[in-house]
Symmetry: D4
Subunit: 167 residues, 8 copies
């Protein structure tokens, strides 16, 4: 098992979610985590979605990231068909400011959790997937620490820039 | 086809929804519409739920009523697997005052409608099912008019009672 | 009765709702369902609206679709004067992000249901009307299945496109 | 005209609204304003409601107070059939904490105003009716000033009581 | 008293509210109701605002229209210093979509009503003022009926236009 | 100036707010800060309230705490008449779960700040007043550190208790 | 590494959260996952909380579950000091119906994810922790499948019971 | 101590908050209050933030202003490490219209207050800091009165302008 590589399934409910979801993918790339990206709808291609979730573990996936908007059932539906951890990204759509997507994903009933991140929080979805995988894959833990350090240095640089230039 | 009887599938996500859903069933009984009642969860018994929806039309059902709370995916998931009209009842649960259930049901993406009634609005779900069936079954149209008349008389009686007794 | 054609009344509260409502009409056209489109206001032309609803069934309509924004009373007012199923489309207006329209339509009191779809969910209103009519008109059931299949193929095509082009 | 007495129509959508609406009536009594109380539903007795509104002015009414809950259409529907000022009281019902009632009443589209008070704000509805009538009936203006003075003295008394007893 | 002319005070909390408030003024002009327009802030010019309200009746005003945004205290503060009816217009500002303005105006505690209209509902504020004044001034009642008829004809014209041109 | 004692005005809009406000008073007592408690309404005793605020500084007050519910104008109205810091406590009332009180207090327009604490957050209002006074009165800074230490020890004790007893 | 046992840190912001959090602990027990339970406050014992998070990984923890209410900073603060996955449970407190807790936890800015479950969703927090650990510990994957099967059988049993007894 | 100058720490969670926060700084400049501006994140540079707060008083700061968006923990986290008064500015970000930022800041649990201003209310944050400092520094009290007078004159000028030019 030690030669197995971490692998994540990234699923979006609509191709219009891509500009948001792309940030999750960039994180996975940066952490050298293998991934497969899919457009699948809980409502328009329900068989494909449920089939995909049912076989995800056998196909070597260890985490699922699912993004959807409005009455966003996709993450919960996938979670119903797998015991892999499912991370849900609520996509802000044109009405109700993302509250519908958020509540449809985070308020899962007992028994079927979905690990929910912020509305349009795809970058965090990617990082959360890496954190989960780092439980098993030690090299990811190291990279996470470097990433945290890099974020810190970014903030420090911005702090200095504002102090120098702006005031 | 004329000897076919109207038949409705009533599905609730949890047996704790029964006190609310009961009002839908009482309407169906009052209108002499056949029905079958089920506890099925989009998340805990997903195969049963999707299988049920897929076969609902072949099993003679003409309308589906589905009640669920919190991230209430059940009506939408059923709707994904059938072309029968699905009526969704958002159940108010212990947090967020039913807004989560309502948005999870009503904000369905394009292509898969769910006919949503008020939070805990099971009586209206029953009536809406009867109205849909009355498109085909003329005897139900007649009964709906009587029911409307009866509601009117109830209000008129209450109006008189308040005028006489209270003031 | 078998030679009767399905017929839907489409009513919007203001001509400014047309860009949204148009999608419901396109669905009805695509399914070859006859329809009549009207601008009627529950508040500015209340007699016309109530009169229209009262006579809708006698005039051969079998389903009513009504769209309105803000304190959106139109679908509920029409439903008060008919026993036909009424489908309500909440229109997002310039304040409160559509929550006012949604709650004014979906939270109908017991006795007078309105089958509510998502904010600006006109396409689903059209599909829901077709699903209701398909209870009676078998040819619509067939078309609904084809439409569902077509949606599925669309998603599958987008899935392939994203896989090929983007990553 | 000077011998005409001020007269208010008080209408509630359901007899269950009486405990709230009673406070409006008590204000009217205290100000010696004539009133008629009715249970009428915009949805269950729509003809009675619209007829009542249409004839309200001819029947000597000068202001209408209307209370309703959930998708609370009653005040707006009455306002559609009269040019008398209509005061709307949103009634808090069992779900969504009164937000549905409030938005359904206050968010009226242009052309048909409803003077909305707070959720369950029946006392203010009564006072607002008196303030409107006081435009015409001078004796009411005098009483309003006394009422305002009395409220002031009540607060002052409570202020003293708290200062003496509690601390 | 019969030669007295109806007169309305229109007060906005900030000159930035003018584009919205203008619609109230246009209604007053159209109905030939005298008015005075003021910029006054409950918070920045509190003495002027309270003084204005205290003397409003003596200065011949019969209704006050007050518009304000965010924590919109202006209408309530004015109402505290007068027994004239006060109409509140919640102004949508840059955050929270108008909900803050609405709740700050409509949720007045018992004893001090504010007749609240929709967020940015200035036209209705003007009409409501006219309706209140029409209790006393008969010529306004006549004009209100004409205005209602005109609105009706507008809708009917739009209905015909859509039927002819669009479909 | 060094012999001046810190003094806080505590004002509640209604005597029914006392059970909540009491916690602010207990904090002031515990920190040996002088205070005066008042029931004053922005709407029912507006002259008293504005007069009180106008003279608060001359009367030796250095901070004002004001609690109110619903369309909670009291803190903002007081702030309009003084340059002392005003701390606002939104009181949860029977509808809308405190959101109305919160937004009416926190969303103050530019120029007139109100330091807002949580809904029913009276204890924090008291502490915030002490923190403000500690800018000037050094002995309060010392007490604040002790209070913080005490809170810490309380949590540590509860932590141990749960570890020992519960699991 | 293979002899290492899975270990979870369970942290609640207040001992009053225990009745909710207990369900997470019961899940961990049922899955034979080692855990340590703590009462720690992001605000009252910030050093302990940050220290705990900083050392969590070295102390053998692989997942952190953190529960907090109101402005619920605990999960996010812990996440700032570790690269372990942090699961956040929003606790419903006495105002605003849990929306404050939910948004304070789920809306984390980019870089520091918190895996959020439903308001009061402690059981799902426990299950999510197990799912994360199952990426590494195969025996947990097996148990998760049994748990899912058990949930399914529970629903099926309830379905039969309702069918037999109730109707 | 009398020669000590008032000094405020201004901290923003991200450099993107600068356009909003700038208004607080302009107020501090206008009142000749010394300040230091920092970019610090509760989540990305938690050690720096907590260290900064812990030493703020020793470094001569008397008030802290902290701005943050989304799950805005920064003001609360700083408040946990100091007994200085902390003023929180909720920054409106791209989703949920600022409600998340507001609730994450204002709903602080008992013991650790944050003086919260309106969403994006940086100008008021600056003024509130000055009001707090004026408890100790008399010259600021004088300036606050002048500022209040200037705001008043601004409104009066706008009032005249509107009266002259617009109508």
């Amino acid at each position: 098992m030690s030669i197995k590589k971490p692998k994540v399934a990234v699923i979006m409910g609509s191709d219009s979610d891509l500009p948001v979801v792309r940030k999750a993918v960039e994180i996975l790339k940066a952490f050298e985590v293998e991934f497969e990206i899919n457009v699948m709808s809980a409502h328009r291609t329900p068989e494909r979605a449920t089939e995909y979730a049912r076989n995800a573990q056998d196909n070597g996936f260890e985490v699922i990231i699912a993004a959807a908007g409005k009455a966003a059932h996709l993450p919960g539906v996938l979670a119903a068909f797998t015991t892999l951890p499912v991370i849900g990204i609520p996509i802000k759509s044109s009405t109700l400011d993302g509250l519908d997507s958020l509540l449809s994903i985070v308020q899962m009933p007992s028994g079927i959790p979905v690990a929910t991140v912020a509305v349009d929080g795809a970058e965090n979805a990617g990082l959360l997937a890496v954190q989960m995988l780092a439980i098993k894959y030690e090299f990811l833990g190291e990279k996470l620490k470097q990433h945290k350090e890099k974020m810190k240095q970014d903030v420090i640089r911005k702090d200095q820039k504002i102090k120098e230039e702006v005031f």
